[in-house]
Symmetry: C2
Subunit: 247 residues, 2 copies
C-alpha cells in the first residue's frame, strides 16, 4: 500500500495538484504534516480536479513522528549528496529505480515530499528509510512541488494502477500477409505508372524500408493498397479512353 | 531540436509551470498559439521559477498553421482511440516510446499540448504527425495541463539533458573485499557474544542475505565493521575487568 505525505506545504494549490495526480495514477491515501488551511472554496479544491471528491477531503493530518512510526518512508529531494561520505542524501534512487525496488516489498510505504522552497530538511531526511531524487537539469534541478510529486507517482504507476485508459494494444500492426499484399500492389503500381524497369528494384527497396519503419495498421494497409489499385485503374481507363478516341 | 508548443491555454499559471518544467529538463524553446496574456507581475512569471529569466520572456507566439508547417508535431492527449478504425488518436505512443522513437530522428520537433479543459481537438490532432498519450488511471486519466507536460518532458530528458544534477554513481557500492571483511568481522562478533556454535551458520547466512540485498557503501561497511569490532573489544575488556575483580 502506497501513500503520499506532504510535509509543511504552504500553498494550498500544491496540495490540490498532488491530490489530482494521486487520483490520476491510482493512489488515494494522502497524509498531511502541518498543512496549510484547505478551504473547500479555495485553491486546493480548485486544483484537485475530481480528487476534490475523495482524495482531498479524506486526507489525514498527522505529525511527523506518526509518519515515521507508521510508515516505511521514502524522502524525495532534488539535492543529493555526491558520494558515500554523507548518508543524509546518499545513496539515493531515481523514481524508476524506486518503482523496481518497491515492487518486491510488501509494506505500508509513504513517499514524502517537503515544503515548497527548501524541500525536506537534513534532519527530516536523516530519519527516513530511503531517498529518491528525480534526474533533472544540472543547471536547474529543482522542480515545483506539484511537478515533482507527479513525476514520482507517474513512475510508480505500475504499483498502483490496475488498468490505464489505454487499449491493450496501442498499435495494432497489420499482419504480415496484408503487408506483403501492399508490396505486391506497389509493384503493380510501378508498372501501371510506367516507372522504368531498371529503376524498379531500387524503388521497391525504398518502399519496403519506408513501410517497415512505419509498422502500418491493417486499416492503413487496406487504404494504401486501395489507392494504388485505384491509380492503376484510372491509368488503364484513361489509356482505353484515349485509344478509343484514337480508334 | 525539441520545442514545446501550447495551444490556446487560458491559465497563465499553466504556461509558467510548463516553462519551469522545460528548464528543469533542459528545453528552452517555448511556442505559444493563442496564449493568454502573460503579465510579468502575474501567475505565469510567478510559477515559472528560474524560467522567468529566459524560457518565458523568449517564448514565441505563432499561429497553428505556422506550427504545423515549421515542425514535426507530436500531439499529446489523454483520450485515445481504441483501435485502428479511427486514425485521429490512433496509433499512439506512450512518452517512453516517444523518447525512443525521437532518439534516432534529426528533426525540428514540437511536442504540442492543448487547452486546459478539452485538450487538443480532433481537428487539431488530425493534422499532427504523431500522437502521444500518458498511461494513467482508467477512472480518471486526465492530468492537469502542467502535470501532463512535466511527465512528457521528464520522459524525453535523455534527448534534452546533457547532464543531470546527480553524481555519475548514485550508489557507490563497497568493493567485494571490504564486504568479505565485514562478513569475517560478523563471524568474530558471533564468537565474541557467545552465540551458540550450532546456530552460527544460520545467523551467518541470514546476515549475508541481508547485506547482499542492501549493497552497502564503503562507508557503511567500515562503520559496521568498526561497531562489531568495538563490541568484541568491550566484551573482552569487561571480561578481563571482571576476572581482575574476581582475582
Amino acid at each position: 500500500m502506497l501513500s503520499v505525505a506532504v510535509v509543511d506545504a504552504t500553498e494550498p494549490g500544491n496540495v490540490g495538484t498532488i491530490a489530482r495526480s494521486m487520483k490520476n495514477f491510482g493512489l488515494s491515501d494522502l497524509l498531511l504534516v502541518d498543512p496549510p488551511e484547505l478551504d473547500p472554496e479555495g485553491e486546493a479544491y480548485g486544483f484537485a480536479g475530481q480528487a476534490r471528491e475523495d482524495v482531498l477531503p479524506e486526507a489525514r493530518e498527522l505529525t511527523f513522528e506518526e509518519l515515521l512510526s507508521e510508515f516505511h518512508t521514502v524522502g524525495c529531494t532534488a539535492v543529493t549528496n555526491e558520494d558515500a561520505t554523507s548518508h543524509v542524501r546518499y545513496p539515493f534512487q531515481t523514481p524508476a529505480e524506486l518503482a523496481d525496488d518497491l515492487a518486491s516489498v510488501e509494506a505500508e510505504t509513504a513517499v514524502v515530499f517537503g515544503r515548497e522552497r527548501v524541500g525536506l530538511t537534513n534532519d527530516e531526511l536523516a530519519r527516513m528509510d530511503q531517498v529518491c531524487s528525480i534526474p533533472a537539469s544540472d543547471d536547474y534541478p529543482v522542480l515545483n512541488l506539484g511537478q515533482a510529486a507527479t513525476v514520482v507517482l507517474y513512475e510508480l504507476r505500475e504499483l498502483t494502477l490496475e488498468e490505464t485508459q489505454h487499449p491493450d494494444e496501442r498499435h495494432e500492426r497489420a499482419d504480415q500477409q496484408a503487408i506483403a499484399g501492399l508490396h505486391d500492389q506497389f509493384g503493380d503500381f510501378l508498372e501501371d505508372i510506367g516507372h522504368p524497369d531498371e529503376k524498379r528494384p531500387k524503388a521497391t527497396r525504398l518502399w519496403r524500408r519506408f513501410v517497415g519503419r512505419a509498422h502500418p495498421t491493417g486499416r492503413e494497409v487496406r487504404t494504401l493498397r486501395g489507392l494504388f489499385r485505384r491509380a492503376g485503374q484510372r491509368i488503364e481507363w484513361a489509356e482505353t479512353d484515349s485509344s478509343d478516341g484514337d480508334g
